[in-house]
Amino acid sequence: MQVRFWGTRGSIPVAAGGRAIREKIRRALVQAAGRSLETDAQIDSFIDDVLEFPVRHGYGGDTSCIQIESGKEPTLLDMGSGLRRFGQQIMGAEAAEPVRLFHIFMSHLHWDHIMGFPFFPPAYIPGNTIRIYGGHEPSVMEEAFERQQSNPCFPVYWDQLGADIEFVHLAPDRWHAINGFRVKLMVQPHHGGSYGYRFERDGKTLVYSTDAEHKQQDDSGIGPFVDFFRNADLVVFDAMYSLAEMITVKEDWGHSSNVIGAELCLLAGVKHYCMFHHEPSYDDEMLHTILQETRRYAEIVGEGKHLKITTAYDDMVIDL
């Protein structure tokens, strides 16, 4: 199973502005001083091996969209603005036998998780089928997408799409067999409700748990999540805020924190914890700092347990 991140940001897409780009260039030049950078190989090695991630790359700014690169047809999780780039890639990559069926699993229907759909070219092609799965009722899901593509929000209306769009309700807490995966949903605490997903295939497990606020931290509150995450190879988790933020000024905003994700993953015996749904006001340096801090936190509270921790970035690929 391979997981590719097309969008990792929470709430609204962001882009590095001119000031941030200038600062990256400046830092790279400062580090380049005195080095021999005359050949392409030397330059590439300097970029890849010397410059830190926030300087040479950064975390990106598209909103939630993940692809699981196994299964007969494409499998996607959420349709944030990252879906636009997936759409471009799939259109460019189409060979003699183009993709006709897409399986897309929705955590929920807030704007940042559906905003990529109007910019998804396969939705405009007759003969294609976009099958959208979720824990919400099909009529609720359709209404969210239809509203987004209606006057005065968008010039191409819902009934002008060429593809067949299907909405499929998935009951939580039981297994479903879809596109070669065993899939289970879990209800999560979020405004309007959200759903976490557990995907299993070929002995590998991915848990996608975004947009969930973990307020109850006793056994009754965390127990169901620990069970849902149990022994997963990868957990993609809403780590949007610091703990202090999520229980003070951002209480009831529906999101969790980096440290709660680390604790749940440690308790559940997860192999790899990937922080996701980044706060839009955080720049690359801040996200990098949070990653180092979260690793340290897991070291302290894990008391010898090993947990791999990463921060998701746009175009990141994880092999399970």
């Binding site: 931290q217 006793d218 056994d219 610091s242 703990l243 229980i247 003070t248 801090e293 340290r296 936190y297």
Partner: protein
């Protein structure tokens, strides 16, 4: 987790010992509960010198206590954090929202000038 309470003239000092995680957070909550009532007065100072371990569940209890006291115009402070506990406070940004003092004496002096540990 274990604790002991000292009632000082203008503050309550609670000495917290041991470990606070998702299992023992309820005990911690209970330890603080009787000092958060509307009928209580004065600041609440927690001596964490012998606190060995704390996770987010314990931090949440602390924040709820701080909010409750703020609603009564009372204050909460923590003091004498071990280095690992201080790191946990910093990583979770609790150092930005709670009053933290190097020693119990400094906490008492700052929050309740009339009170001294005795």
């Amino acid at each position: 987790m274990d604790y002991s309470v000292q009632q000082l003239p203008d503050a309550t000092l609670i000495d917290i010992k041991g470990r606070i995680d998702h299992k023992s957070a309820k005990d911690f909550e209970e330890a603080l509960k009787s000092h958060l009532g509307e009928d209580q007065t004065g600041a609440l100072v927690l001596d964490l010198e012998e606190l060995e371990y704390m996770t987010s569940a314990g931090l949440r209890v602390l924040m709820i206590a701080a909010k409750t006291l703020a609603g009564q115009q009372r204050k909460l402070a923590v003091a004498a954090l071990q280095p690992l506990i201080a790191e946990i406070f910093k990583i979770s940004r609790f150092d930005l929202v709670l009053k933290i003092y190097p020693t119990v004496e400094e906490a008492l002096q700052a929050l309740s000038p009339g009170a001294e540990e005795g």
